[in-house]
């Protein structure tokens, strides 16, 4: 089998769509894992001093976790739309790459916004540790980063929703 033949076998419409789903779940998941990790490290340092602030720390730590969920939602919608959960529909290569491209916004923005949000939230942890009453401001700044992940998810989901087989 030549390389070209292998490529031809791999690059089916369905596999391309699956690649999109995989990228959405993986990259956004990595972003969230990194983000949540950064906040977790910062918050354990604070909790050593004052364990009673766990609730506030947890809220900040949960914030960068949403990108992963967005990635999961996008991946799931692709899998659902191409019929992997029921009877699979035949996809042309063009249709498959349609899904792959649709997945890119949440995959990439999820990766970077998750990390960025993690950093903002980790800085927020030090605000909470010094001035617990101001924690809403820390949450607010972290929530601003979230917006772009929401927008990316929107751009990912709309083409998937309006896909015509």
């Amino acid at each position: 089998m030549t390389f070209a033949e292998i490529l031809e076998k791999i690059l089916s419409g369905q596999n391309l769509a699956l690649l999109g789903a995989a990228l959405a779940a993986t990259l956004a998941g990595i972003g969230s894992a990194k983000g949540v990790g950064i906040v977790g490290e910062a918050s354990s340092a604070m909790l050593q001093e004052d364990p009673s602030k766990f609730g506030k720390a947890l809220l900040l730590q949960a914030l960068p976790g949403t990108q992963g969920i967005y990635g999961l939602v996008a991946a799931f919608m692709i899998i659902y739309k191409i019929g992997l959960l029921g009877d699979p529909i035949e996809l042309t290569v063009a249709q498959g790459s349609y899904f792959l491209m649709a997945a890119l916004p949440i995959a990439l923005v999820g990766l970077f916004s998750g990390i960025a949000q993690g950093r903002v939230a980790a800085a927020g942890i030090s605000l909470v540790s010094k001035r617990p009453a101001e924690s809403i401001k820390a949450v607010t700044s972290a929530a601003l980063v979230e917006t772009y992940a929401i927008f990316a998810l929107l751009v990912t989901l709309l083409p998937i929703f309006f896909f015509q087989a």
């Binding site: 939602v73 799931f76 919608m77 949450v139 601003l144 979230e146 929401i150 929107l154 709309l158």
Partner: protein, 645 residues
């Protein structure tokens, strides 16, 4: 809708009466105490009050009382109710008796804490010693060492990796004996007995192998290790029963935890008073009190001071004074004051935009989270929170604000067709196979007609911006800068209204826009002296149109956030209804539906709040707002657990 007018207040009282005056003012809750500035008290032989030692004392007591509260809370027999309503207590009714009772409860708790920790540490010591003696239980030797006329013995342990025969072999030529008493998997317990002349050598041989002498001291009189262990067991039983007794006492005492909570709050209130006292000036016999009082509270303060017979005066604020800012708005708008507080209070004497902002906040928030279901949940939870937790201050306002926002979400949900996103449609399609489900939106469905929704968003934005310019016009006009009002705000208003009218009637619109542009060109360079610069500045001002357009486009976030909450919600609806209509399918649906929509609501609630606020702060306030006001912080009773009336 206004910033409350403040009067500068000062009073002179006798030094011995100062505390009672401050207490009374604290109960009135309407005086923001400051250091007097208008006259220079120090030059008149007055000096700032120093209450450091009392402050330290009260802080210490407060820390103690908080520790008592925390300690007793562990012993509460019935678990703490998640929404416990704080007690309401009338501060002026608290008698010395109540205070004594509270103090007593606190002293008792402190005593128990101290004794309990003593007993527990004694118990730990006993346990350690018992454990250390355990290997020697059967040995009838004195520990750690004993001596006869010619020999010396020492007992201890070596690591179990070392076979006891190894040191024995090394000490073969010495007059030394090693007896092994017990062996655990970590240590071997043995006794070295040697002739005094050889003892040092034998001991050092063992020490090199990691020999540690037994840490306990036991003599023949104690009945060797066994007797000592028995005595220790008795001791530990005694201590354990003491601990139990103390614990029972603590459980009993935890019934009076309310007294301790009251005590904590009384101390906090005392602390607030002391902090306020630091802002007084005193001479040998008199004290000068100064502060700010809202105009409508003057009669209360006057009545108090007349009754006490102190000298006082009220003056108007000078422009250079640092006057605290208090907002006063109607029942609806005042709930939105936290949005302003989160940004910055308006400067004293400037315009309070709360009432206008609250209307826009209400509308824009609703559009960003247009969903009947979400709005209902929000309002329900906020009202429950208000009812059950009885919060005060800005927490209370926040909750009522979100309850109102929930109402807005419900209204917008009906207009734009959000009922837990598209739950009814999904159920109809996936459960009952109805392909053509009816459109639930009364007006526009953003999912199928996002362009129309975008136009509505931008239109709301245009209204918001023109309102901001109108406020700018009003503020400038009211402060007698009429020319600026017409040129800097008026011309833009004409331009924007013209652009709006253009959509209806091209002729009138074009005229208005042209007038606006000409006004800008001719007026924006008026501060320049050079005629060319005048013209240049006038034309350059047209460049600001770009700024206004970017402001306007910023309102497209209403569409983005509104769509996002709908689309993510509809994913959960698809997920939930996918297994079809069957008993298991329905259970699956409820799990996915509840978890998914709650998460979606939480994220989008936060998002909508942040972005609605941002539209107010940057696009709206940016046009006219003067920030930097110091919030009015009257001296009030301070409490954490109870509500002082």
């Amino acid at each position: 809708m206004a910033i409350v007018k403040m009067k500068r207040f000062s009073a002179v009282t006798l030094k011995k009466d100062a505390d009672s005056l401050i207490s009374s003012l604290q109960l009135l809750r309407c005086v923001d105490l400051t250091r007097p500035k208008s006259l220079d008290p120090e030059s008149e032989g007055m000096s700032p009050e120093k209450r450091d030692s009392e402050m330290t004392e009260t802080k210490k007591k407060l820390a103690e009382a908080s520790a008592s509260e925390e300690f007793l809370a562990q012993f509460l027999t019935k678990g703490k109710a998640p929404f416990s309503q704080p007690n309401e207590i009338i501060l002026s009714h608290i008698s010395g008796e109540v205070l004594t009772k509270c103090k007593e409860a606190n002293d008792n708790t402190q005593r128990i804490i101290k004794e309990l920790s003593e007993k527990k540490s004694a118990l730990a010591t006993v346990k350690n010693e018992t454990a250390a003696l355990e290997p020697w239980r059967d040995a009838t030797v004195e520990l750690p060492s004993s001596e006869t006329k010619n020999t010396k013995s020492i007992s201890g342990a070596i690591p179990s990796e070392i076979n006891p025969s190894y040191p024995e072999k090394q000490l073969e030529d010495a007059a030394a004996v090693i007896e092994v008493f017990a062996q655990t998997d970590r240590e071997t317990y043995l006794r070295l007995t040697a002739h005094k002349s050889d003892f040092e050598r034998a001991y050092s041989t063992l020490s090199e192998l990691g020999f540690i002498p037994c840490p306990c001291v036991v003599s023949k009189k104690d009945g060797y290790a066994e007797g000592r262990i028995k005595a220790l067991t008795d001791e530990s039983e005694r201590l354990t029963s003491d601990v139990e007794k103390l614990t029972a006492e603590a459980v009993e005492l935890s019934k009076s935890i309310d007294d301790i909570k009251l005590y904590c709050d009384l101390l906090s209130t005392e602390l607030a008073k002391l902090e306020a006292s630091e802002r007084l000036y005193s001479s040998e016999k008199t004290v000068l009190i100064a502060g700010w009082v809202p105009e409508q509270s003057i009669s209360e303060v006057t009545a108090l001071l007349e009754e006490r017979g102190d000298a006082y005066s009220f003056e108007d604020a000078n422009p250079e004074d640092d006057v605290p800012v208090k907002l006063s708005n109607n029942a609806f708008s005042s709930q939105f004051e936290p949005v302003i507080e989160l940004y910055s209070m308006p400067a004293y004497g400037s315009f309070d935009p709360t009432s206008i902002m609250s209307a826009f906040f209400f509308i824009i928030f609703g559009m960003m989270l247009a969903d009947v279901g979400y709005g209902f949940i929000m309002s329900l939870f906020c009202l429950l929170g208000l009812k059950l937790m009885k919060p005060s201050g800005s927490m209370k306002k926040m909750l009522s604000m979100f309850a109102w926002c929930g109402v807005s979400c419900m209204i917008m949900g009906v207009l734009f067709g959000g009922y837990f996103s598209d739950a009814p449609t999904s159920i109809m399609q996936n459960w009952f196979g109805i392909e053509k489900a009816p459109d639930l939106a009364l007006w526009i469905n953003p999912m199928t007609d996002p362009m129309a929704f975008l136009v509505v968003s931008i239109a709301v934005g245009a209204l918001h911006l023109v309102t901001a310019l109108c406020i700018k016009f009003y503020v400038l006009w009211a402060s007698k800068k009429r020319l600026s009002a017409v040129c800097d705000a008026g011309s833009w208003i004409v331009l924007f209204v013209g652009a709006g009218v253009f959509l209806l009637s091209k002729e009138i619109g074009t005229v208005l826009v042209s007038v606006g542009i000409l006004m800008l060109i001719f007026t924006q360079g008026r501060s320049q002296k050079n005629i060319f610069l005048k013209i240049f500045k006038g034309f350059a001002s047209l460049y600001d149109i770009v700024g206004y357009i970017s402001d306007l486009l910023s309102y497209s976030r209403i569409l983005s956030l509104g769509l996002a909450s709908m689309v993510i919600g509809s994913v959960f609806n698809i997920l939930g209804t996918m297994p079809g209509f069957s008993p298991i399918g329905v259970i699956f649906f409820f799990v996915i539906f509840t978890v998914g929509h709650l998460m979606n609501l939480a994220i989008n609630l936060l998002g909508s709040f942040v972005h609605t606020s941002r539209l107010q702060y940057i696009e709206f306030f940016g046009k006219f707002y003067e920030d930097g006001g110091r919030p009015f912080e009257p001296l009030t009773p301070r409490s954490k657990y109870v509500i002082f009336k």
